[in-house]
Symmetry: C2
Subunit: 341 residues, 2 copies
Amino acid sequence: MAVTLKQIADAAGVSRGTVDRVINKRGHVRPEVEKRILQIAKDLHYRPNPYGRALVKSTKTSKIGVICQFGETPFMKLVVEGIEQARKEITARGSEVIIKTIDSYDTDRTLTAIDRMLSDGVEGLALTAGPAPELQEKLREVIKSGIPVITFNTDSKESGRLSYVGLENYRAGTVCAGLMGSALRDGGLILPISGYLENYAHSRRMLGFRETIAMQFPSITLLPAELCHDTDAVAEEIVHRALRLNPDIKGIYISGNGQHGVCEALRAEGLAGKICLIVYDLTERNKNELRNGTIDFLIDQNAFEQGYRPAMLLYNLLILGQPPEKEFYFTDIHIMNRFCL
Amino acid sequence: MAVTLKQIADAAGVSRGTVDRVINKRGHVRPEVEKRILQIAKDLHYRPNPYGRALVKSTKTSKIGVICQFGETPFMKLVVEGIEQARKEITARGSEVIIKTIDSYDTDRTLTAIDRMLSDGVEGLALTAGPAPELQEKLREVIKSGIPVITFNTDSKESGRLSYVGLENYRAGTVCAGLMGSALRDGGLILPISGYLENYAHSRRMLGFRETIAMQFPSITLLPAELCHDTDAVAEEIVHRALRLNPDIKGIYISGNGQHGVCEALRAEGLAGKICLIVYDLTERNKNELRNGTIDFLIDQNAFEQGYRPAMLLYNLLILGQPPEKEFYFTDIHIMNRFCL
DNA sequence: TTGAAAGCGATACCAC
DNA sequence: GTGGTATCGCTTTCAA
């Protein structure tokens, strides 16, 4: 049998209440008693039984808010599945999760959503953030008012949020550079495509890619990065135009959405499978393109986890009183080729 | 607040005991009462509080046995860390974990270890299995005697084990074939190296690799697979010899241990970074070789999880009464290049 | 500063 | 078949 509070209490000749106060640093205990109890706890290798604690705490109820920008993208739909799963579990434990998705990157609507959540009385907030100064400022306020904030998918480090759950985007970019490097051993010309400049996550991926190619793969030449606004049609057009100007393009890297447009263009040009294409996100469409060989490598960033984890971290904090263990919950940079499916 | 047994009991006009009997299918309840209770539970969306259940159950104590073959390999040392972590947590909850590592693949010593564990009174067993008929037969007996068995790292499907935790080895081989294919776009000659024929995990990886290369990458030629007995010195010698016979080797795939020997040989031949090398397992040494460019791709199979999960699955089953959710707990086939470090 | 007691939700066991 | 009750380990509250 594991050591319990009561055993420590008996050994120390005090009551469980006193031991509890010591173990949980609630104060109001004579220092010498405290010292004795701590010593005994240590000697006995006391570890609180998480089930006992959770049982008591789980009767509290809280409201947790989750705001999800870029809600229209296929990837974010997968994230939302994770959030829904967390909601299910949390609801079953008596608390509440409010979800608000916002199309595209929209700071104003995000600010409005935050205000709405606050007036709804949420006690914890998770959101896809970003570098917009108004948003960061707002989050600092929220946090100062005592509401813990967790960012996911897109961080906002200066806001003072508790933790970030998501890809280490810059590094993911470097990994893709490495993949491109090994696929193009003899070097060649690469077309990099980004979504929006404002999408911090996508920009970081692009930066990591460009810097690594430049520094580590001298035989590879980068065209200037193009912006496709996360849109297939625009991405398709970009590829066609680029190929017209540079028929010898050997690789394409797209850090945001619009992947399908790129695939269509490559097919139309008869270059599917010939040009090395590296994309992000394991959506159904991307799966198919990976399978048929149009996409060579795909970085999966565990969408489900990005939705599930933040809500659970807030639940554990608010209800069970367990703060997150880490500031960064980086999801695996999961490289996939078609045989991974 | 979440729905509790008591609320259902009140609504149904019975006692909690009766509801408990219904919910947990313990019988001894009049069918009509049972039906009514189930209906109410459903209407109220009743979900048992796992903490309450765990609290009661966690006072039981059990002995869990873990047997680890190939215990001398760097990879298995990482697995053992996972087991140790599980042991720590399980011990803190009052149960016991006995660990036995066995060097190399040794069916006899494994059988002996199983017998020792049984006479020690373990109530659940996790082990690295394998296809040896005596072992499978033994495991069938063990299972028949009511002791649940879980395999990890190396499966033994015919033994009737409850679950397997580890890599999907055949598929991992196909993934490596894909990596080799994209690194060697123009084809070339490949040297495949295996450890022991008897190591089922390694053989499956080799089979997946060979079959996929043969079927999907016609421009790549495979040399006959060599066996290095998981030994660096042998692997080194194999590489030297192979290069003497075939100086135009473009890639090496090693499905087991001996990775470091391959790296040394490539360095000695001045071919480090020139020949595409794909290996398994994120050991410290392999990390270095990945970093310095001698290894191109590495498949990490989450050693920690392979040790941690099996013990925890047994704990959840024996103590909390929760059977594993799946038969296969496949660890991610985690492709890494040097930028992943 | 400390102790005693109630209660969290589920289970096990013993009466009836 | 069914109800009542003690119990698991911990937190909380109130009185001393």
